[in-house]
Symmetry: C2
Subunit: 139 residues, 2 copies
DNA sequence: CTTGACCCTGTAGTTGCTACAGGGTGCAGT
DNA sequence: ACTGCACCCTGTAGCAACTACAGGGTCAAG
């Protein structure tokens, strides 16, 4: 029922991916060059739809292109242990955690700076002062 | 004591900014073109050091270049109210909060996917399955 | 007077797209 | 048959915010 020939626009709608992005994925080798119609239009099938969905989902979860490349290549070797997959995912989780920590630290610093603002004139603005913490030992 | 002529390397060390980055800031107009020595070396003073410190601190806090441009230009109008400064900072805090929320949602999803991994073969890997949530209503 | 650390300009690469420009294709309506 | 119009094609350039050369010049120490 769903299995027909899909244009790039169909794929785009089905996966909420811009047409240009799909062509970009093809250019960088994340998607294989598909068959073409008589009029030189790209013709996709369900296999490509699945692969692109996988890619998009992984991107949404913050995986980088190279990680996705690795995941895709591993996912084809069905008999091997999925330890390598697990390792990639865990590494990514660690990266996310470290980004989260950074962002939370940043947030709290920013928040404390903003809280000090009495909204007077800029000459005595606490935010500006907090941003320019130069050692005033000289002059 | 500290007030002499600073080379770009001095500025680089003092602010933990790469030399190339300083030149980049000059190119995009965030730093004014400095004086030059006889040998065409950039010659900075404490003013530039202060300005660059400000920029780096703001970057560390996640402000974008355009926001920093606005902060710098506002910080020169000392008599005006610092409401505009406050608004930029609050906007940035809101952006950070929204990024944090996204990242935390992502983290928990990633975590739950990883937790399902029994580390069997890839053919039945839960991580791969979770990444390819294609509607299987057809075929 | 040479060696090495520094500086200069200019350009290209990074990541993951996005946005044209300048065309071709396919189909519906008249 | 013709005319729109939506869609497709390739190729290139742009975004943020740097980073990394290449291919040269300058300067102080030994």
């Amino acid at each position: 029922m769903n299995s027909g020939i899909l244009t790039i626009g169909d794929l785009s709608k089905a996966t909420s991916t811009k047409v240009e992005t799909i062509r970009y994925y093809e250019r960088i080798g994340l998607l294989a060059p598909p068959a073409r119609t008589a009029g030189n239009y790209r013709a996709y099938g369900d296999t490509e739809l699945g692969r692109l969905s996988f890619i998009r989902r992984a991107r949404d979860l913050g995986f980088g292109i190279d990680q996705i490349r690795a995941l895709l290549s591993l996912s084809e070797k069905k008999k091997r242990s999925c330890k390598a997959i697990d390792a990639i995912a865990r590494q990514h989780l660690a990266d996310v955690d470290s980004k989260l920590a950074d962002l939370m630290a940043l947030r709290s610093e920013l928040d404390s700076i903003i809280r000090q603002c009495g909204c007077g004139t800029i000459a005595n603005c606490r935010i500006i002062e907090a941003l320019a913490p130069i050692d005033a030992s000289h002059r």
